[in-house]
Structures are given as C-alpha cells and as structure tokens.
Symmetry: C2
Subunit: 149 residues, 2 copies
C-alpha cells in the first residue's frame, strides 16, 4: 500500500474543481504536499488509463479527459495500482496443508477486496467534487491569490 491512490484522488478532485483549467504538476504537488516528480508518476498512470490529458510547455498541465460523472473512484484506484490486493496471499506451495487452506483463503480475500472496490466504484468523481468543491475553491483562492488565473 503506497500513497498513490491518495495522490490520485487529490489530482482528479482538484482537476475537477478547476473545470478544465489545466494544473501543473508543481501546483498539484504543492497543494498535496509532495514533490512534482512524485505527482507526475501518478499523472502518468492516470493518463495511461485515459482519465486525464496532459500538455507540455508554457501554460501546460493536466485536465480531466472525461466528464467527472463518468469516472468512479475504483477506476482511479486501479489506474494507479499495479496489483490491487489489500490482503497478502500465502506464497503458495505444493502439497501439504497450506495450499488447501490457502486456496480457500485467497478466494475469500478476493471477495473481501471486491467489496471494497465496489464501494469505491459506487462513488463518482462528480459526487466527490460536489462534496468538496466549494471549500476547495475558497481555500485555493485564499491561500494562493497571486497564482495563475
């Protein structure tokens, strides 16, 4: 478990609040509290998943590639995660007791993880945006009144 999901949600949440105005990795990094390179690593994955689009050069940055209502949080999670497992499986072996219990346990872990993913799936970026937008805009304008646009 790394923090890429938290960063990814921050990214899509903030991008959504900005309604199409691109944000640079530096701004995203500052607002989250990390470095631009770390943000770009996550941006790269979101991009590959088709959730955002990025432009280089002056005035560049990232914007959402889909409508906020069309993106759910499971998509974000799976975009930024190599192996979407929350429960560690037994490193299966052959023969003996462990594989038998292990096979059952693995199946069970998968079901439990699915429950979590379905919970994430039930929330769209638009819903998230509706819950936090007003305060984000207010805060962003208050704390960085001099920045672009």
């Amino acid at each position: 478990m790394n923090s890429d999901f938290a960063i990814g949600l921050h990214i899509v949440g903030f991008l959504t609040a900005r309604q199409g105005q691109p944000l640079t990795s530096e701004t995203l990094a500052d607002t989250y509290g990390t470095s631009p390179v770390v943000v770009r690593r996550v941006l790269s994955r979101l991009q590959q998943a088709g959730l955002i689009e990025t432009r280089r050069g002056t005035g560049g940055g990232s914007v959402l590639a889909q409508k906020p209502s069309a993106i759910n949080l499971r998509q974000v999670y799976e975009a930024v995660t190599d192996n979407p497992q929350f429960l560690r499986r037994h490193p299966g072996e052959e023969g003996g007791v462990a594989p038998i219990l292990g096979a059952y346990i693995n199946e069970l872990c998968s079901q439990a993880e699915l429950a979590l993913l379905e919970q994430l799936e039930s929330v769209t970026v638009k819903q998230m945006d509706a819950a936090v937008r007003p305060r984000i805009i207010a805060s962003h304008c208050r704390t960085k009144p001099k920045s672009k646009k």
Copy 2:
C-alpha cells in the same frame, strides 16, 4: 500489509480442523511454510485477543479458545493487525487544498475499508472449516503419518 492475517487464518483454520488437539508453533510453521518464531508472534496476538489458548512445555501448543462458530474472520484480522487500514491516508496538514479533499477522502476510504471488514465478518471460522476440513485432514495424515496422534 504484512502476511500476519494469512498466517492467522492458517492457524485458526488448522486448529479448528484438529478439534482441540494442541498444535505446536513448529508444526504450524512447517505447514504454513515459515519459521516458528514468526508463528509465535501471531499466536501471541491471537492469544491476547482471546481467540486461542496456549500451553508451554511437553505436549503443549495452542488450541482454539472459543467455538469455531463464535469466531469470524474480521476478529482474526483485527487481532493480528495494529492499524487496520488498507488505503493510505494523506498525512494531514493544516490549511490549503489537501486537508479539505483529504478529509473527504479519508472518510471515503474508511467506508470502503468497512465494506471489506464486513465481508470478513460475515464468514465464521466454522464455515471456513467446513469448506476445507476434509482435505486438510487427508493431506496432513498423508504427508505426516508418523507425527503425533
């Protein structure tokens, strides 16, 4: 995420299959594929949670402290885990954008994690046992016919 939960499930599953006959940490370690000390670390936690009982000395070992029908897998998970979180939270700061989105995200993560835990809670050790006992007994007697009992 470490493998203590997988080890914990192996322990309670195997203990249940043995129906009150104590198993040593060495046997549990061998059947899972790890070392006795690692197993004892998990056993210690299960014991503190009141799920198993352990006796030292010759003929010692661990047994279930409750009926299999009275133990669910969420109890096992929480017994062996310090901080039962699957999704990493934002290391909260003061002021700015992140705390606002972060507070919402944290709440959302908690809900999703709860869904997973409830899935675990819906399965009892007895149910798990029913699904795997026949094969475990068969395998254990086949691969270790010389051992105790």
